[in-house]
Amino acid sequence: MRRFFSLILIIGFGFYLVTVIGRIPFAATGEAKGSVGVQIVNDTVNDTGAANAVTSVVVLYRGFDTLGEVTVLFLAALGMSLLLKGTEEVKARVFDESFILKTGSYLLFPFIVLFGLYIIVHGHLTPGGGFPGGVVIATAFFIIVMTSEMVRLRENLVSILESLAGLTFIALGIAGLLGTKNSFLANFMGKGVFNTILSAGIIPFIYAAIGIKVGSELTGAVGSMFLSPFGKQEEAGE
């Protein structure tokens, strides 16, 4: 019965999606309508000095969104650690993994981190940036947590990193506010030589902060998942 009604509603909703959105052709956007994106692509090199237009949009044009997005991640990590922290002392999960896996993960760890860092610092030049880089770094920790029994993530360290990275982001923004442009997140540094690492003003710095933040947040989230007890919790005193 429930399925039947759901189906009817889905058909109704689908009807509107298909008949209204489904008729919009892609090519119609763009130049003809003077879309924001077209203007950005045209001006981005002059405005920001970043080769990757997407990055300049993410970090500068819509940097405020990105700040919010980082905040959402921060919130999610915070929420997870709040919710999953056991009410009673819970032992870290013990995985009885093989020696090869453990050693392999330790061996892989620095390379994965390095790869992540590479992605972060080249965010304004190539596809990538703080978000994917941060995720890659978090993966390194994830593997360690998955495979070795003794590693317990230092929640404090993670949250300090997280906070510092977030504050750096805001501080860079405020520096723009205090600078000549008098605008939050404005690019107050020189643009540097186009298509090199130290170009595009504050973009690489912000992306580094984002990378650290995303990495530490995801690590923290993974950590809190592992620290939480699974299964139905016994009520205290029973």
Binding site: I21, I24, Y61
Partner: protein, 502 residues
């Protein structure tokens, strides 16, 4: 002049800073959060006279709209950020005594992010940025609802989360359509181009946004999460959620409808929905026994009233609605904050167990009653004037349609009065049961020892008293308030055009 962006940045930065502070000073977050909220209050007060004359446009990253994101600090933005920060500040004072477990740092971080999200929502002038702040607001409230980690809180939070996500899904689809068709995300820009859009696209966008943001704005039938979430959250959080979160969502959605989409066609339907929301809320509250559920349903009723007022399509209506929002924020915060201590002291959620609690907690009970009277709309409290203005604004339209809606509002008021005064009487005169020998005063069934119930701590009484001043003496400043609400109404009804912005 202060940059209005600080209203968003200060609480956000403080929230990021709290984990660092926690290492050196465990309970420092309490006072830091208070400071941040206070700073916002001061900035808001400083900015208010400027924006009443001319709205301030804030560019971000030095890019002018529509290329970059911009904030519009008009009367609406600043007044609502003031409402948010003042309520937040007072609730933070309340929290000093109320929140006492070991995760207080997380509580204050989340609290500040809730303030950030809602302030961002009212200030932003970019529709995707609105979505981001909307999500910050939503996610922080999901977590705060579950803050106590009890069964009810968790259940309410997951429901709230699922429904909120469905809502944001619809919102995102609307954004996709807007960008596909118009190639812009700036609200002023959208406003300029929107009328050229085909009818079916306009309809789709408006309805998607109404049903997406409407989830947070608690419009019937999208408000099913509300009674659960508002009644299961810690009382300080309920005060925020009922106090300004739903109102912020509502005013933003109506701002979009009026000044961005110019969708006057939906207003009549929204007025009807508003009255339905009102009646559902008030009638459903009638039989509730859990005090926080009563208050939550009453919030639904109030939202319905505000929605009706906003849908009148006249400046008077919107102005009255904003006044009603101010009244509801103050009154409902008082009600939730006070009931928080009722619950804490007696250990029961059933208001019939608070038999004669007024003798033990006189100030709190008195303010509870005053706030309830204001919500019902009893002169000379603020609520009377806002309700009267709403009724008159509807009547001024002169059509039978509005007059019949108003009569339904008045019907709802009767029910509202009936259940609020029943609670008030229990507080003062004890529970009365209909027995064969007439109504007798009986003790509480739960066996709560009223003698042991003490008064609420000073940290709880001060904010409630301050809010009480707004409710009780607000009418003295009615002219000023009406000036402010009038300029908000002017801002909403004036179609924003990009040309006039810069």
């Amino acid at each position: 002049m202060v940059n209005p962006i600080l209203l968003i940045i200060i609480p956000l930065a403080t929230a990021f800073f709290i984990p660092l502070l926690a290492i050196v000073w465990k309970n420092g977050s309490r006072y830091l959060a208070l400071l941040a909220a206070l700073a916002n209050v001061l900035i808001g007060i400083k900015l208010l006279p400027y924006v009443l004359e001319k709205p301030i446009h804030v560019t971000i990253a030095g890019f002018k709209a529509p290329i970059g994101i911009d904030l519009l600090a008009g009367p609406l933005g600043i007044v609502f950020s003031l409402i948010i920060s003042i309520t937040g500040f007072l609730v933070l004072i309340y929290s000093i005594g109320y929140i006492r477990d070991e995760s207080i740092n997380k509580y204050y971080t989340l609290f500040l992010l809730l303030l950030t999200g809602s302030t961002g929502m009212v200030l932003t002038n970019d529709i995707f940025n609105l979505f981001v702040f909307f999500e910050i607001l939503c996610i922080s409230s999901y977590i705060l609802v579950a803050y106590n980690r009890d069964e009810h809180g968790l259940e309410a939070a997951i429901k709230y989360l699922v429904l909120g996500s469905v809502g944001s899904l619809l919102f995102l689809i609307a954004i996709a359509i807007i960008y596909l068709k118009l190639g812009t995300l700036n609200m002023a820009d959208i406003s300029d181009k929107f009328d050229a859009l085909g009818g079916s696209y306009r309809m789709m966008v408006v309805v998607l946004i109404l049903s997406g943001l409407g989830v947070e704005a608690a419009i019937f039938p999208l408000n099913s999460w509300l009674p659960d979430a508002h009644s299961s959250a810690p009382s300080s959080i309920s005060a925020l959620l009922s106090g300004f979160v739903i109102e912020v969502a509502l005013i933003v959605v109506m701002k979009l409808v009026y000044s961005v989409f110019h969708a006057m066609q939906v207003l009549n339907a929204l007025a009807v929905v508003g009255v339905i929301t009102l009646l559902v809320g008030e009638f459903a509250a009638f039989r509730q026994e859990n005090i926080k559920r009563v208050l939550a349903y009453s919030s639904i009723g109030q939202v319905g009233l505000i929605l009706l007022a906003l849908s009148i399509n006249s400046k008077a209506g919107i102005s009255a609605a904003v006044l009603q929002i101010i009244n509801h924020t103050a009154s409902k915060s008082i009600l939730f904050l006070v009931s928080g201590y009722f619950i804490l002291k007696t250990g029961s959620y059933r208001y019939s167990d608070y038999s004669g609690i007024a003798k033990r907690m006189p100030v709190s009970s008195l303010l509870f009653v005053l706030a309830a009277l204001s919500l019902i709309g009893v002169p000379p409290f603020l609520g009377f004037f806002s309700k009267l203005q709403i009724v008159m604004a509807a009547a001024a339209r002169g059509s039978t349609f509005y007059v019949s809606l108003v009569s339904l509002v008045l019907l709802g008021t009767i029910v509202e009065g009936a259940y609020f005064l029943r609670i008030a009487q229990v507080l003062y005169f004890g529970r009365q049961q209909d027995t064969d020998s007439g109504w007798l005063e009986t003790g509480n069934a739960a066996g709560i020892d009223m003698e042991s119930v003490g008064n609420a701590p000073v940290s709880a009484v001060i904010p409630v008293l301050l809010l009480g001043i707004v409710v009780v003496f607000g009418f003295l400043f009615l002219t000023n308030l009406n000036g402010v609400t009038g300029s908000i109404a002017g801002e909403i009804t004036r179609a924003l055009s990009l040309a006039s912005l810069f």
